[in-house]
Amino acid sequence: MEFVVFLIAGAIVVGGAIGVLAFANPVHAALSLVATLFGVAVLFVAQNAQFLAAVQVIVYAGAIVVLFLFVIMLLGVDRSDDLRVEPIVGQRPLALLAGVGVLAASLVAVLSAGGSTATRTVRSTAVAIPTEEPDVTSLGRLLFTDHVLALEITAILLTVAVVGAVVLARRPGRDEPSVEADVEAEA
Amino acid sequence: MSMFLAAAETASTPFPHLLTLLVLVPAVGSAVVALISKQRPDVCRQAAFLFSATAGALAVYLLWNFDVADGGFQFVESTTWVRDFGIGWRLGVDGISLFLVVLSGLLFPFVILAITPEHDPKPYYAWLLLLQAGSLGVFVALDLFAFFVFFEIVLVPMYFLIGSWGHGNRTYAAMKFFLFTMFGSALMLVGILALVATAADAIGAGATFDIRELAQADLATNTARLIFCAFALAFAVKVPIFPLHTWLPDAHTEAPTAGSVILAGIMLKLGTYGFVRFGLYLFPEASRWAAPVFLTLGVVGILYGAVVATMQRDLKRLVAYSSVAHLGFIVLGTFAMNSQGVTGGIMQMVNHGLSTGALFLLVGMIYERRHTREIAELNGLQRSAPIMAAVFTVVMLSSIGLPGLNGFVGEFLILNGTFIANRWYAVIAAVGVILAALYLLWAYQRVFHGTPRSVENESFADLRLREGLAVGALLVPIVVLGVYPKPMIERIEPSVAVLLEHIEARTGVAPAEGPTAERSTVEELFGAGHGDDASHGANAGKVDK
């Protein structure tokens, strides 16, 4: 059963990812991204991580893709980049090389550690989640015990981000031209 | 070796913190001058003279109270500076540094009196005073950290003096001077730290920068040699020894007169003094190991400096290259590593400071009048300026090493020592003496002899009273030390003897003395006719305490 779910969800994930790359229309690409994110959410559920699944749907499929669509709409749906031109020469082969390299390195790291998951699990008891408890509860428990400081600092972080966004979004007064313009005027 | 430490403990200090005061007076003076209004150059000058002369007076007081018979460090002071690192404010003087301290003490007030800067007197005097403080600090430091601090800090005022008050391509010369010297001392810092770390392991006590303790550490031969190389590089750049000398002609030529005088008189001695105090003393075995290299480079420097000097068209550059040759002699004497050689080397440090300093002063005066240093432009000056010509002759002869003048004594001792240690070096080096006569006399002939061939040379003004007094003040020691070097030698000798004993004890190799050699050789050579005076002089020193 689990395997079947994995196969179907995996197909959705991969199909969506291919769609993101393959669709010429950016709106279609964004929508297939939604499919991918849903697929991942399903995989989370299959792993008994309901909270993550919900977050995945709400935050990614909900907020972020909508934001994407906003941006696409603002920039104009009909515009498409000419993909035949490489902005930086040799960029693509290098990117491929780097991608393969990172993949290989990650695989080596994961596989070489893979044999000993058992011992790792034993070590992880400090954060092991009691199985009878719903994961949302245990997550909440962790957030208010071991990671309460991180939670509080996240609050600061969000405030900082909001302040920063406001500062940056503020426009310079209309009567104040840019510094470069000042200098040009002087010259 | 316990002698050193014992001396340190028993040394009476007639004037507490004399050496600290010696370093602080000009440093404070520098700050004071910096605070005087720019509108009052005369006040700046007087204040500068006052402070540097006070330091000079303290140096003379030091000389007066110096215990002639004692070869160890005197007037020793020791205070903690950075506790965690074993760094201390440790000062002391022995025969090796004594005369360099006196030279630094006296040359600066003299330069301030003799030379007026062309512009911006206030910062000029402030930098000069800082330079004096740094130079004095180098010669009295018994702590490697303090030594390094002073060794580096003197770069800053000199850099400004050359760069701001120099001539021609001064910024290039200043930059080259700074970077070359800093390059040398960069590795020395690593060497110092390596020495302190390995010595701490060898002694078993905590880390210390006290050279008296570091000299006692048993280092592995190769370690010591490696660290010695790091030190030697710094000193070799500063001296400068032959292949590293290229900054010197530029710096000397472009520097203002005062800068040249100080550079020749004192700054170059930081390197040669470093070799004696830190090279031979801290790394006896490594010094002996490296001696052939330095003897060779010394000889090469003598010949190279002489040959290149001969070919110079610029009078100041000629004197600069003659410095390379003279410093070759000092290196030769130092690495002969026997009593005559080292004593001669130390004497020659002072002598070179006096004679080359005087030469730069005279060249500066010529430049001031004619605004050129081209030898081809100058001729027949003897006719219009006979007094200057006479003075120039004496100074030049001292530089050549004519008997009866101070240059002879040092060069003779060096050649004597080198001959005993390794005769062929002495033979070749002696050629350098002849070459010195050649280039200096030839230059003199071109500049002073004959009839003036241009209006400017005809109307060349002779020495003014102030200038005459200035040069005259340098002529006195030039003549006195040439005729009667005994008081100087008898103060240097015991310390050299202690140093050589230390080297012998550490390496097990006796210094290469001649067949008739005893340690009194030097005194026999120069002091035979003055036995009475010697004891008189020694007594005089004691009575005053």
Binding site: V45, A109, A113, G115, V127, T137, L149, V166, V167 | S164
Partner: protein, 529 residues
């Protein structure tokens, strides 16, 4: 569909009635968190007050910022005596579920950060008014960023460390772009943000891998785990994680080859902000680096040391050599700050208490030097920061000798001339390297310092040794337009004077600071839970 089904299945299950589960929250030592709170909370208050109240007097925000940072520093100093006094005091401890350490080390960095904020606030006061940007946001963001730095220095948990890093960085991204009328500033902020976000991603991935290898994000637990079983079979995982963490830190402290953002950002960002970047951000970055590598991964030193040594060499040489080629003073200082990061990396690489103490000393000394240096650059660059070429400094020694002299002291301090704090900073690092047997590394560092010296000397030459007359534009002509005198606001002058005096005092009596740095370090190396 499948999701809905599964949710439905979930709902169908008999859910255990959630009775009020009693969660025992960890005990919090508020006293220990006080400096952090004193930085973050008043910053928020300042922000609110600025929108609600009229400005009380000119320079109120800067004064408030200095006051806030000063108060935080004062409390940190009070804390210092408690945590470093091992006999009578409390000694170092962790709090909030051992996620936050309070030890001499974190307190030291806290004070360094506060001083960095104070200096750049003083400089920013005149700058913002000159540029017509006066407002509370700059100061609030500076303070918030510093609070992030405090979190980084105190973090005993990788997640907290990461959050600290973000709280540190985000305000600085914004500040870099805060000159809204200068496109260079916008570009700087953008570049810094993109590369910084990239670095954060690396860092986060590193945390994940380290967690995978050791089963914890708590530094103490990680260290214990690795101590119990140094040859964990997840070695590759751990090392990959450590490598990614190093990349993240490398970006933050501008180590070659992760330095590419530095020159552009330094050049474009407002100078007071750059001052904070070079002093505060660097200090926080190294604080995290030392705690993660020198302390937590101390057992793996054989594995990471060669890499950090390599980074140090590249950074030293890259920074100093590239600095030589620059003609813009801010770019030059950017590269020189890279070279200084190289020195700091040497201190990290030797992985000894001496090395860590040297890093602390260096951070404190360098923070002051570079703060003063950018104060001068701010003043000289003039409105819109147009005059940042070397030519802007030409003849300054004659026109404004005191300013030039102060600047010279700071430049010589960065060169490493004795009797300035910069010399002893280098001395400490070199000593740590030599004591650790890294002779060649010490030699490379010193040689790079010589190369770097050229850069500072060029500025000194421009100030003192070049006439105002440009040799290329007509010879002998007395300059028609003598440049207008550099305006020196009082606060900026105060910052400059204070940093110069501190540089000299520490230079003459380095013992004042070495004792403190020495006290701060062994504690951290010895007492993680």
């Amino acid at each position: 569909m499948s999701l809905l089904a599964s949710l439905a299945a979930q709902a169908a299950q008999p859910v255990t009635p959630v009775t009020s589960v009693l969660v025992e929250t960890p005990s919090v030592d508020w006293w220990g968190l006080l400096p952090l709170i004193l930085l973050a909370a008043p910053a928020m208050v300042l922000l609110h007050a600025s929108s609600l109240l009229r400005r009380v007097f000119r320079g109120f925000y800067a004064t408030a910022s200095v006051g806030i940072a000063g108060t935080a520093a004062a409390f940190a100093i009070v804390q210092w005596f408690r945590v470093t006094d091992l006999d009578g005091g409390r000694g170092p401890y962790t709090t909030v579920a051992s996620a936050y350490t309070v030890d001499g080390y974190s307190v030291f960095i806290t004070v360094v950060l506060c001083v960095a904020v104070i200096v750049s606030s003083l400089v920013a006061d005149g700058y913002l008014r000159r540029e017509g940007l006066d407002g509370a946001e700059t100061y609030a963001l500076l303070l918030l960023s510093a609070s992030g730095g405090v979190v980084m220095a105190s973090a005993n948990d990788l997640i907290v460390l990461f959050l600290g890093l973000e709280v540190l960085s985000i305000p600085v991204y914004v500040l870099a772009a805060s000159h809204l009328r200068r496109s260079a500033s916008q570009e700087a902020g953008f570049k810094y943000f993109i590369l910084g976000a990239f670095a954060s991603a690396f860092f986060l991935y590193g945390i994940a891998l380290v967690y995978g290898a050791t089963g914890s994000t708590n530094l103490g637990t990680i260290r214990q785990t690795l101590q119990d079983d140094p040859f964990v079979d997840g070695g590759a995982l751990l090392l990959a994680g450590a490598a990614f963490l190093l990349v993240g830190f490398g970006f933050k402290v501008a180590a070659v080859p992760f330095h590419a953002w530095t020159p552009d950002v330094y050049q474009g960002a407002p100078s007071p902000v750059v001052s904070y970047m070079a002093s505060g951000v660097k200090a926080a970055g190294f604080a995290g680096l030392v705690r993660v590598f020198d302390v937590t991964l101390a057992g793996q030193v054989r594995d990471w040391q060669p890499i950090v040594v390599g980074l140090a060499v590249l950074t030293l040489l890259g920074g100093s050599v590239l600095a030589v080629a620059q003609t813009d003073v801010k770019r030059m200082l950017a590269y020189s700050s890279i070279s200084h990061a190289g020195f700091l990396l040497v201190g990290v690489a030797v992985a000894s208490p001496e090395g860590a103490a040297a890093v602390l000393f260096y951070l404190a000394a360098y923070g002051l030097m570079i703060g003063g240096t950018f104060a001068v650059v701010t003043a000289v660059a003039g409105p819109g920061e147009q005059a940042t070429g070397i030519d802007a400094f030409r003849g300054l020694g004659r026109r404004q000798p005191m300013l030039a002299l102060g600047f010279t002291v700071l430049l010589f301090a960065q060169t490493g001339v004795p009797l300035t704090s910069g010399f002893f900073a280098k001395f400490g690092v070199i000593k740590a390297a030599v004591d650790g047997g890294w002779y060649w590394l010490a030699a490379v560092a010193m040689l790079s310092a010589v190369v770097g010296a050229f850069v500072y000397l060029r500025l000194v030459v421009a100030m003192f040794m070049v006439e105002d007359i440009d040799p290329h534009h007509g010879d002998g002509d007395v300059v028609a337009a003598t440049p207008a005198p550099v305006a020196m606001p009082a606060a900026l002058t105060l910052a400059l004077a204070a940093t110069v005096v501190a540089t000299l005092v520490v230079g003459f009596l380095p013992g004042l600071l070495t004792d403190l740095a020495g006290d701060a370090v062994p504690v951290v190396l010895a007492t993680l839970p």
